[in-house]
Amino acid sequence: MPPFKDDQIIIIAPGSETTVAQLGLPESFTPGKVRFRSRMFPAEKAGEFEPYKIRRKNEKSNGLSNDDAEEEKKPATEGEDDEIIWEEDRISEEGAIWPIEEGRIVDWPCFFALITHVYNTLNPPFHTAILLITQPAWTPREHEKLTQFFFEKFKTPAFGLMDAALATTWAYGVHTATVVDVGKNKTDVTAISEFIPQTQGRVVSLPGCGGEAFTAGLLSKLKTKGFNRDMCEQLKRSQICEILPLGSVLPGTGVAQEKDVITNPASAASTGATGSGPAGAATIGNIPRGPGVDTEVGEETAAEENEGVLDVASIVAGGKMNEYLAKKEKEKQDKALAKKKGAPAPDAANRQARLPNSRREKATFLYTDHALLDTLKNMDLGTQGLADAKSALNEVTGKQAQDHAENGDPTSATEANGTGEGSSGGPKTGSIKREIEVGTERFLSDSDGTLEKIAAAVHRSISSVDEVQKRSDLWDSLIICGNGSRLKGFKDALLQTLSSKYLISPSSATMFTSEIPSNISTPAGTGANTPQPQLGPHGGSQVNPLLFAATAGQNLHLTSHGGNPLMAGMSQNTHSSHGQTPTNIKVVKPPEYFPEWKEVGFDEAAFLGAQVAAKVIFVVDQGQSKGYMTRPDYNDQGPQGIHDYSL
């Protein structure tokens, strides 16, 4: 009889942005049932926290109130106004405290409050074991602190800790892997060899390399067009934002250009100011500016329009809402008019729409305007007024929304990132949505070399694994996960960056060492003594293709030898433990047998791994493997004992 049943297990995975939790293990593992934004709001009493922003309803004082929580507190403590009604604002995140930054817990009281909130939301029965997924940045002492908290606050009968990277490998069912976990504002790279995370050289919390970096990249490109951070964030999450493969040409450029030129025209065109990366700064000015390279036709007018369109919140706050609405209405009519005319313009638009996103010059996405909603709420409009304003400002009618859904717009994404409640439904009813158009900037989120930084970290992490012979396996099994890697095209681009910078090609001089005269002279720079005939890029090798095929035990690759650096058996280095890596870079295939996970993707594989692990350590092996600490253990050994138990 196992000590716990499937439905008596809680899994909590805290993250910088999102905390995922679940009570009970379903028959077939599903993605975490409850999602929380990892933030709390300071409550009235210092040191206490509320899960939602509390704002005063029917506020008299205009404008001031949205400054800070402090403003709101004062009247309450003074108790001079009894009619104040407090309301929970479940969408706004103003003044929130985020207890986890770059994977580190920076605000412990807040973090504990968050965990308590999570626990209370799940409302588990008393006899429930807890498995907590730990971030790599948490230190052993912090593990002890957590253990103490869980046992003493929740009186849990059993508690276990599991490293996020290790959990990921459990999900994929592999024992050796390099886990690249791209988070909100950090990346962890962990080499795991035979179930053991290599602590040496583990890249823990590489700062500034996460989803946030891409948002910042977009922001730096789009700031001049009136985009704010929130817009960029939502743009990043939409389907139209993408990292294009290296060397691909931006749509609208027309002419194929060299790789390094690609990033430049846009930064020059969009900002005209210094690029954000040093490389960008260096190269700006080398490129001819002006139309023809990458500037969009009619950019100025677009910018003007955008000016008006994007700053709705401030317009509304400034009391010019009606004028704005009138203008908007006129635009709509104009559009309708144009449609009626049946001008050739829609044709062109349609043609654009049919192209894949990476080929389109411009694309639109739905923007949920929280700031606007906040402003409206603070304007004291009354319920009816609020609703009216909302519907007036909400550009996206039901039909349009549907269109977007068909276009593959981010219904699933919003769901996955659903705020507050955890009630993962469709788009929230209260929100205001608008359509925003962006140009090719959406492909340039990686403007300051985040990908390269991550690639360098992967290389560094694997290179510092002590056992040289294990490295090649680690390169063969990369796992790229974390919600920061959701960005379209990110994984492929990272792989490409890795290959183009670090992949070791088979040396032409050693295809078959025995066939080469041992005293090979250092070839002259001209390559004059490279033997003939020239076959492919590596014509220099004197390999008999038949012999090669025979020894490699493969089909004949007569033409491709040397041309395909990924071909197995090409590497000379395999003959001993000494050799350079990587000769091969591969990603691990995600598991096939979790249909629910397959739908949403394996970005949160750590949670799946934790489910597998929870099943194993709490249920299947009946506590034999000591994967968790029980209450008697805790009473005996105290928090320090956790190190003997955690996975």
Binding site: P42, A46, D68, E70, G95, V106, W108, C110, T139, P140, R141, F195, I196, T199, Q200, G201, V204, P207, L246, D260, P278, A279, A282, A456, H459, S463, V468, S500, K501, Y502, I504, S505, S507, S508, A509, T510, T513, S518, N519, I520, P523, G525, G527, T530, P537, H538, G540, P565, Q572, N573, H578, G579, Q580, K626, D636, Q637, H643, D644, Y645, S646
Partner: protein
């Protein structure tokens, strides 16, 4: 995963190791290791190199792997060790050690309450009290952990006092102990006596240990170690024709496959403010480390590499290819034996204007000889039967074969035995592991220098207690 084995794990109450949760700090030239006593591998391994940025707002230090490999304007990469194998820059050493301990072991100090957003909402008087309290808590990062630090065998008395001062004054450790790396490496291999050959990054040392005590006059050290091999490789590159270019990774944007020996055709990065020379040097070292791991081989004997037709034999063995970060690649045949030959044969070392010929007495065989010379004649066979090999540079391919050959050549009549742990971790971190074992022993508790004793006797107590 930590699955206790019922046949080996002692009961919790049997030894008192777990209760103290001592921290073991093992600083080396290349990396600084720190971890909790009783564990089998240091949890925190951070480079001893650090970044120093001289900006307008003053000096900024950057510690840890993440910080020092990022090309930045005016970022100097330095090391706190002096050329004599004794800590030179104590201020930075203190900071770096503290970083190594707090970052991965005990948790970072809480950020300053004025910055962490906790008090953003309330600017009233209450927060001030919190500030002071927090500051007091922050001041001493190691208040609850006894600290064991390792030191090189040739450490000066002054340096030793400095260690205890840092531990007691700066970190507020409740107890402290200092132990020599040689002894600890022997402990890690389960030996109380033996000769410890430690080939590290900056120094090679040979330490005779008898019953857990270092024979101080027998301690030998020489600068022929990992960094020396790196310099030899650099010279091999320079002296080959055409000169082999050494381009670190950060300069390369993407590389293209080229034929062996032909010039690289990579896309390079450009920097508006190119990183400093020291940064480049450190990044080049990483390439050289890879070269050492994958190409360099020690001539295993018999005889020296330059003897007879050994070179001819080496030339006929298959070469090893190496590809530079910029795509340049070549097969190294007999040259690869040359890089490490200087460790054993001073006359075989490559020399140049900047690197003179190493001294004969600095080669490893001569060091061993000199160390054994200082030991009583009747103890020698016992020591020679326990030769512990440790240090990262001993991982060079065929190093042990050669060492074995050399030692047997000097002492043909004794039974010489090399003890070299097969596991890389044990070889690299032997002295840390020894420290971990020592500090977790229940019987070690009486040896700690307690805070009270320190306050009573002052820093001089290390000389008396830690021999």
């Amino acid at each position: 995963m930590n699955i206790p084995n019922s046949s080996t794990a002692p009961a919790a109450g049997e030894y008192a190791g777990d209760e103290v949760s001592a921290i073991v700090l093992d600083p080396g030239y290349s990396s600084t290791r720190a971890g909790f006593a009783g564990e089998d591998v240091p949890k925190s391994v951070c480079p001893s190199f650090y970044g120093q940025r001289d900006t307008d707002s003053g000096l900024h230090y950057a510690f840890g792997e993440n910080a020092i490999h990022n090309p930045q304007d005016r970022l100097d990469i330095k090391n706190y060790w002096g050329s004599d194998g004794i800590v030179e820059d104590w201020d930075v050493a203190t900071k770096l050690w503290e970083y190594a301990i707090t970052d991965r072991l005990t948790g970072a100090k809480a950020t300053d309450p004025t910055k962490n957003g906790l008090n953003d909402g309330n600017t009233n008087g209450d927060s001030m009290d919190v500030d002071i309290e927090a500051l007091e808590n922050n001041e001493k990062p190691l208040e609850e952990s006894p600290l064991l630090i390792t030191e090189p065998g040739w450490n000066s008395a002054k340096a030793r006092e400095k260690y205890i001062e840092i531990a007691m004054e700066d970190w507020g450790a409740p107890a402290f102990f200092l132990q020599k790396t040689g002894v600890l490496a022997a402990f890690a291999s389960g030996k109380a006596s033996g000769i410890i050959i430690d080939v590290g990054a900056s120094h090679t040392s040979v330490t005779p240990v008898l019953d857990g005590m270092v024979l101080r006059k027998g301690v030998q050290k020489s600068p022929l170690a990992g960094n020396f091999i790196s310099n030899q490789i650099r010279q091999i590159f320079k002296q080959s024709s055409p000169e082999i270019p050494l381009t670190p990774h950060y300069l390369v944007k993407s590389k293209t496959q080229v034929d062996a020996g032909s010039p690289a055709q990579a896309a390079y990065k450009t920097f508006a403010n190119p990183p400093t020379d020291s940064f480049r040097f450190n990044e080049e070292e990483r390439v050289l480390t890879e070269f050492k791991e994958s190409v360099v081989e020690v001539w295993p004997g018999p005889g020296r590499f330059s003897n007879g037709n050994n070179e001819e034999i080496a030339r006929n063995t298959p070469g090893r290819p190496f590809e530079m970060p910029d795509g340049w690649n070549q097969v190294f045949s007999s040259e690869r034996f040359r890089a490490a030959e200087g460790l054993f044969d001073a006359s075989a070392a490559l020399t140049s204007d900047t690197s003179p010929r190493p001294k004969d007495e600095h080669t490893i065989p001569r060091l061993v000889q000199a160390a054994v010379q200082q030991v009583d004649a009747d103890q020698r066979p016992m020591l020679l039967a326990n030769i512990v090999v440790t240090g990262g540079s001993t991982l060079l391919y065929k190093f042990n074969e050669r060492l074995n050959y050399e030692i047997n050549a000097i002492y043909p009549s004794t039974r010489n035995k090399l003890i070299a742990p097969g596991s890389v971790v044990e070889r690299k971190y032997a002295s840390w592991i020894g420290g971990s074992i020592l500090a977790s022993l229940g019987s070690f508790h009486q040896l700690w220098i307690s805070r009270k004793e320190y306050e009573e006797h002052g820093a001089g107590i290390v000389e008396k207690r830690c021999r």
